[in-house]
Amino acid sequence: MVDEIIEADVVVIGGGITALRAAVTAADSNVDVVLVDKGIPSKSGGGPVAFSVLAGIIEEPDSADVFFNDLMRSGQYMSNPRVARALAKGVAEGKVLEMEKYGIIFDRLPNGQLRRYHMGGHSYPRDLGSFHPASIADLLLLETMRRDIRLFSEVMITKLLTYNGTVVGAVGVNRKDSSLVVFRAKSIVLAAGGGCQMFGPGVLGAYTTNLLESTGDPAAMAWRAGAQLVDLEFVQFMPCNIIYPERLRGVVVGEPAAQGATLYNSKKEPFMEKYATEGGRPPTKDLLAQAMMREVKEGRGTPHGGVWEDFTKIPDYAVFDHYAYPFDELGIDLHKDLLEVAPAAHYFMGGVKINGDCSSSLPGLYAVGESAGGLHGANRMAGCSVATSIVLGFIAGQSAAKRAHEVDRQGIDFEQVHEEEGRLMGLMKVEKGVLPTTIRKKIQTIMWDKVGVLRNGPDLEAAIDALERIRREDLPSMRIRTESTRFNREWHEAIEIINMLDVAEMVARASLLRKESRGAHYRDDYPTKDDEQWLKNIIITRTEDGEKQVTPQPVESVS
């Protein structure tokens, strides 16, 4: 039974910096905007866990062109040049800096000048400091209040509604009371993050820096609606994150080069020299993560599957400034003890394939931020995640509003709504079987062991088999222990797992197809980059019988 039908010009799905920025921008174009978030707006998304620097200022001799070239080089020429150009142009035009009009303050030096950072991959110091990116989300939340934007907090969108190939709405469940909400809109903006929670079976969450909500919902829903996805094989792993004690798993502690720390394997050998790069420059994130996992794979890992990071020689732990981690209570003394660290899934470069205006291959559907694919190519450059949220979030909001001014609101096909309702309610009815939390851990184990930092053909094939077996054997018997209509976490988890499984399979299939190593995608059986064969993106579409079709397509040329 549909409990509520919400009509709007633009519906933004998500609640982080990207979604809030898109919603605020669209509202400024004089359209009626609704924001729907699976979590609590401004508390979900990457903001709370993101780093405090963002590309934000371009001044002579730096230019949009130089920034664009940096993006293309860092993305190892997999990026869609039109989207990369949009980011570079937006930053050069001051789209990041203009956030100060919302009361956001970027860091200043004692002399009052903007503090600027020169981050890896950038030709010039164009990064600004924002202390705690959650503050950007929070101040954008205040801007939604100024514009009377309707927020739907903890409403989980489960399906995009289409009509003749156009996206015309969405269905969601209110997590607090299980009511079914239908949204009808002229434009839908997907800004609900990536799928990093699929990697590694941690107790509280995956081996990831991301929040619990990152379960691949946007990619899965867009794919089911018929949209093209791209670059799913490229998942960025942050190299150095605490893995033990379990309570601190996923806390980023910074790279040795930046922190002046040293990495050791289980034999207490400082192994990084083996992986030294040309000219003695510190390795990039992808190479560092691969070197660490190589030590683990070859039997020189720590008890919990990582390596040791030594901070004892550093007098000042600036890296831990933001957060009050309870090292004392956990019996860790950073002056004496080494930390067990390992890579963790950090950012999905892939997602819904977008154009320079954030439109997808489906009319009415826009995607932006981690939900979108094509901007960061094979590797995302430092400081470009929040910058993307702000600049592309603006563009997505504008494009969605523009369409809303141009088209009429379409009718909803209620058969699709009822079918979705049947699917969701059906999940509640299974009485004997496997718990969602068990299936989640199975997927996470497969993805970490076989589709993680170091990949190879046989492992990827085994992963696809194992994921298909979960779909065949476990999904039909996924059991929910309570039929409670109030914050039924287990039911929500079941819905998420179906999304996660679809996207996990796409990541594995795209990784198997790409027979080379490039950026974040590394294959032991094809350890080098192959520009002859692989200056191609992998496009994922849905076949008529619901299969995942992976097709290589030559990259778009730079014009």
């Binding site: 709370p48 309570r247 914050f487 039924n488």
Partner: protein, 228 residues
Amino acid sequence: MKNQHIEVEVFRFDPGCDVEPRYETYSVPKTEGMSVLEALKYIYDNEAPIGFRYSCRHNVCGTCGIMVNGRPSLACATTAAPKIRVEPLRGFPIVRDLVVDFDPSYFKRLKLRPFIDTKGAVELRSESITYDIVQQYKQFINCIHCYLCLAACPLVEEHGHRFAGPAIMSDIAMQSRDPRDKGDRVGVAISEGALLCDECRKCVEVCPSELPVDKMIYKYFQDKANKR
């Protein structure tokens, strides 16, 4: 450490079908430095589908606030004692078990019109933003709006309708430090009960970001009000 267990007494209540709340006790095998959140996750994974909320796991998102042995706490940032009683955060409508509805706080913040009020265009890279202003701003952005301070505040409990409480006021306290802001923040603060605060510091005691909440918000507005 081996074979040690902690005893967790969990508030269980589903307003959709239960007549009244009850407490259920679970025995949880202790792991090194186990947090209350880890204990709850153990119960959820192995014992019963209890209702609880969390997201970031690391003291940043502020969604896992509950009462632990009567004290407002973030479940993720609190080490589990051998015997604990966990209840929903005080002062909020209960959704189920330990999950409360934070929407009332959103609407309270909304009511204060907390966005920057510049009465016109804002100058970017404004010279009025000095290093000192940045330091003050930094304190405020460390408020993660977890609302533990609201649950701890005796005035909110007693005079909720005329005392908005710290996390609700932190937005306007932040704006009033911004030289570009022209809103009458002091006037709003007074009407929201800023003068009632007697600095009992209960909010400071529970703040996971260890902010001097009383000084940042109430002492500041009281001093401003006195100068009027």
